[in-house]
Symmetry: C2
Subunit: 140 residues, 2 copies
DNA sequence: AAAGTTAACTTGTGTTTTGCAAGTTGTATT
DNA sequence: AATACAACTTGCAAAACACAAGTTAACTTT
């Protein structure tokens, strides 16, 4: 019954902020979403190889959680029989505006030497078009 | 030196998503921001009394973190000599769009019986005006 | 002015979550 | 049949967290 922890823990306060954070308000969770939406990553090993170095048990837990929440879907990889692909549902793509606002905020406030701005520029250049592109399954 | 943990931990990947999450990507952190921006709460005991029940040591840690990051400011309460007030900086108010997108997402996807929609309605009715109101220090 | 009260923390302790390494299971390839 | 790859699972030590209790400083009451 340990796999149900997260769901049992769902706080039913009715507050939309709480509701959102209970679904994706975890650092690793949003990084997985970023990998999928912005970088086009699809598989377990893709996510494991991300810059930040998520550990394998946590990754498995978060993927299961996101699947339970209906944010992502798991399917067999048609091109590789021993692989699975994870993809965003509409509920998952609906997180795009949040991700883009985070990028925008960081673009304004990260004054570090190696802050990357490629995504920011796309947002500033044509936000609606960029979001539509992401929703169509094309990473950016 | 343990109080510097969070800052030392800052991952310098250059990724804007990572940068944002390292600043506010913690469930409690955004709930504190919500209390301030949406509910007008200002003091330590205000935050402690929030619905979700943050524990006192975690609250102290997050407030210090947010202060170090320049998201909030601490000052003596002019109306109560034994109290302090926490307020949002511009950097803090710049989180408004993220908060509003979270509320919007939850408004679409929370089908629970007691989902609250008062803030959502304000966003849908006049988003710019509502955000401007929040930035002026008036909660909503 | 001594005693109580409020506000903001800090400290201690037990529990939970996380990170890391290693092991397992189910395909495919050789 | 043996090897390798992909996706996990398991075990254990370390870190983060929750909860209760204690501390310090600024008022208030008696």
């Amino acid at each position: 019954m340990s796999k149900m922890k997260k769901l049992e823990n769902k706080r039913q306060t009715g507050c939309p902020v709480t509701f959102g954070l209970d679904t994706f308000g975890d650092k690793w969770t949003l990084l997985i979403i970023r990998e999928m939406m912005l970088k086009g990553m699809k598989t377990y090993s893709d996510f494991l190889a991300a810059d930040e170095g998520i550990s394998t048990n946590i990754l498995a837990d978060r993927l299961k959680h996101l699947e339970n929440e209906g944010v992502i879907e798991k399917a067999r990889d048609p091109e590789n029989g021993r692989s699975f692909t994870y993809s965003l549902t509409e509920k998952g793509y609906d997180l795009a505006p949040i991700l883009l606002e985070i990028v925008t905020w960081s673009g304004k406030h990260d004054h570090g030497p190696n802050a990357r701005t490629s995504v920011l520029k796309k947002i500033q250049n044509d936000r609606e078009g960029y979001e539509a592109k992401l929703r169509s399954g094309k990473p950016g």
